[in-house]
Amino acid sequence: MSAPVVIFAVGNPSRGDDALGPECYGQLEKWLKNENLADQFELIEDFQLQIEHALDLQSRQLALFIDAGANTPAPYTFRRIAPATGAACTTHELPPEAVLQVYVQTEGEEPPPAFVLCIRGETFALGEGLSTAAKHHLDTAFGLLAGLCRQPALAAWQAAANENPE
């Protein structure tokens, strides 16, 4: 039996602020356990999104993608996304919208409602830790995330997205 909500946290812990996704994953995992909410969520951490993540969307009521952002608004953006195509130049990238589209094409149905929490990063150099600015962005974003996890329902998440325009 799948948990009703799947949360993907994406990034490389050793690439500066690209660690925002994994860092958020670690904090969220502990928080969900403390709040006795862990059974409602499946958390998936990975370096980057790939086509097989479409299979993790099966039988979900909601999906959330958490990732660092480069040159995106601070401290974060929270928005609903829809399936969309994108041109690929390398196997080393796949946006969340394309994961949804792979789901549509391979499963023959619409994916669950999906949202992106994009936390702004500042530096992405190999071997660097999280920047001070990114830590602040994460703290702010985690407040939103906790609220979302307390109300894992489309209406509540949509309302949050409406309040946090890009």
């Binding site: 980057q48 790939q50 086509i51 990732d67 690929a88 992405f124």
Partner: protein, 487 residues
């Protein structure tokens, strides 16, 4: 040394075209093309800045941390770095021969990695070009386009990827940040439940891999004029070969051949790799250019990866893949095939071999054993080499008496293919861009050549907010006169 089209005589008078596929803060590649007023090509260069800092990242760390931390060098093939580092550190801890369980667990992990990486490459990158054509609508040339037009093909690609990831998960302990291989062995064996779960699917995986070989073989042989010549260049080639010259991704000795297939060196213990290979630094690129010392910089460069491996081995140990290898060799007519698009065909032969090996290993009770580790006399230096999905991968470390890594040298597959990729795109530029107005379709031809090698462009880093693909024509004063972009 100047290669044809590497350096223009008077670059200040030329227009510059930049193809910037991933405009990331760290880790991106770019192609720059200098054209004159008649659109004649004078200079073509592939720049990859990804590999700065790898060695510095590793130096100063305790050696036992290295197999885990090097996975963060590449999000697509972390297992390759994990295993190459572990093999180098086996030497450091004096583990001359691993236990049967340890070696087979590592081999299973690695072949799972090859399967998932090759599946991703074929279904995500290569098949869009092959199924729709290089000049087709850009919105179709991606995995989503493939899924729309060929849903069953795309679904299989996703499931092949998932199966390979499951093999990695059960052998490495986790889907990411696994710790399966450690210096001297492994830290877990397979459970019966894990083995049985994989056995349920492996027969489909073998069949789908066979179908993928036949699909790419059909595409290639239906248009030999294109597929046998697109981006072609002749070069030496190199790979590990296993016992009796078998194709082997995990272990063996180094073998190199010249462009006619004649052996340059063979049975070379990779601990001595730096007696055979040297790396040249060129001022315009952060990435080095390796070459065979015995031949020299000018002609000693080489290609690695599936096209090199399948033609460098004497045979493949598994029956279906060996049959397909023979078909490929027969098609090539008895001499080495050098066409970059043949990488796709050979990549699928390798994916089939990986699937067959996984099936064989899952029937081997050694995977369920409990003898996981060996140690021996401590050494201060070790080299580990494996055949990663994109080609030969070298990890070389020195460790001091306090167990700290004092020297690290990595030659990754993309570096080994550096000159080869540059040669391929120069050929394409000469054939398709020279004298023509630059269009998105023409520029995609350059990318098709790059995609054949699938270089690591943004290893292990992914963030939202990237720029779309941008192509800019810049005049000698630096003004943008024309631009193309993807969104």
């Amino acid at each position: 040394m100047t290669y044809q089209l590497e350096t223009a005589a008077h670059p200040e008078t030329l227009r510059r075209v930049a193809i910037d596929p991933v405009s990331r803060v760290e880790g991106h590649g770019k192609v720059t093309i200098l054209l004159d007023d008649q659109n004649k090509v004078h200079q073509v260069r592939l720049h990859i800045v990804e590999f700065r800092g790898f060695e510095k990242f590793i130096q100063g760390r305790p050696y036992w941390e290295v197999p885990v931390m090097v996975q963060r060098l590449c999000g697509i093939c972390p297992v390759s770095h994990h295993l190459a580092a572990s093999k180098a550190l086996d030497v450091i801890v004096g583990a001359k021969k691993l236990t049967a369980t340890a070696e087979k667990m590592r081999r299973l992990m690695h072949y799972g990695q090859m399967l998932q990486s090759h599946a991703l490459h074929f279904f995500h990158l290569c098949s869009p070009d092959l199924l729709f054509g290089f000049d087709s609508d850009v919105t179709k040339r991606n995995i989503v386009g493939v899924a729309a037009a060929h849903p069953e093909t795309a679904k299989r690609g996703v499931l092949l990827r998932r199966f390979g990831q499951e093999v990695i998960r059960v052998t490495a302990g986790k889907r990411v940040h696994g710790t399966g291989a450690i210096p001297g062995g492994v830290n877990k064996a397979l459970t019966i439940a894990e083995r049985d779960e994989l056995l349920k699917d492996v027969y489909h995986i073998v069949q789908w891999s066979r179908d993928a070989v036949h699909l790419i073989q059909k595409v290639h042989t239906q248009d030999p004029g294109l597929y046998n010549s697109f981006g072609i260049f002749r070069s030496n080639f190199m790979s590990l070969v296993g016992h009796n010259g078998d194709l082997d991704f995990y272990h063996g000795t180094l073998r190199a051949r010249d462009d006619n297939g004649k052996i340059i060196f063979d049975h070379v213990d990779y601990q001595q790799y730096n007696q055979y290979i040297e790396e040249e630094v060129r001022p315009w690129s952060y990435m080095k250019f390796p070459y065979f010392k015995s031949i020299g910089k000018e002609s000693g460069w080489y290609k690695v990866g599936p096209l090199a491996r399948v033609q460098n081995c004497n045979q493949i140990s598994t029956p279906f893949a060996e049959h397909e290898r023979k078909e490929f060799v027969d098609y090539a007519g008895g001499s080495p095939m050098h066409a970059p698009l043949a990488y796709h065909w050979t990549r699928m032969i390798e994916m089939l071999h990986a699937a067959e090996v996984i099936k064989e290993l899952l029937h081997d009770d050694d995977l369920l054993g409990s003898d996981l580790m060996v140690q021996g006399e401590r050494q201060s230096e070790g080299v580990g080499v494996i055949e990663a999905p994109r080609g030969t991968l070298f990890h070389h470390y020195r460790v001091d008496e306090n167990d700290i890594v004092t020297m690290a040298n990595l030659i990754v597959s993309t570096t080994n293919n550096n000159q080869a990729m540059n040669e391929a795109i120069r050929h394409v530029a000469r054939c398709y861009l020279h004298g023509h107005e630059v269009t998105e379709g023409l520029l995609n031809h350059i990318e098709v050549a790059i995609r054949a090698f699938d270089p690591c462009l943004s290893c292990a880093t992914h963030a939202l907010g990237k720029m779309p693909l941008e192509v800019e024509l810049v005049d000698p004063e630096g003004r943008i006169v024309h631009s193309l972009s993807r969104s």
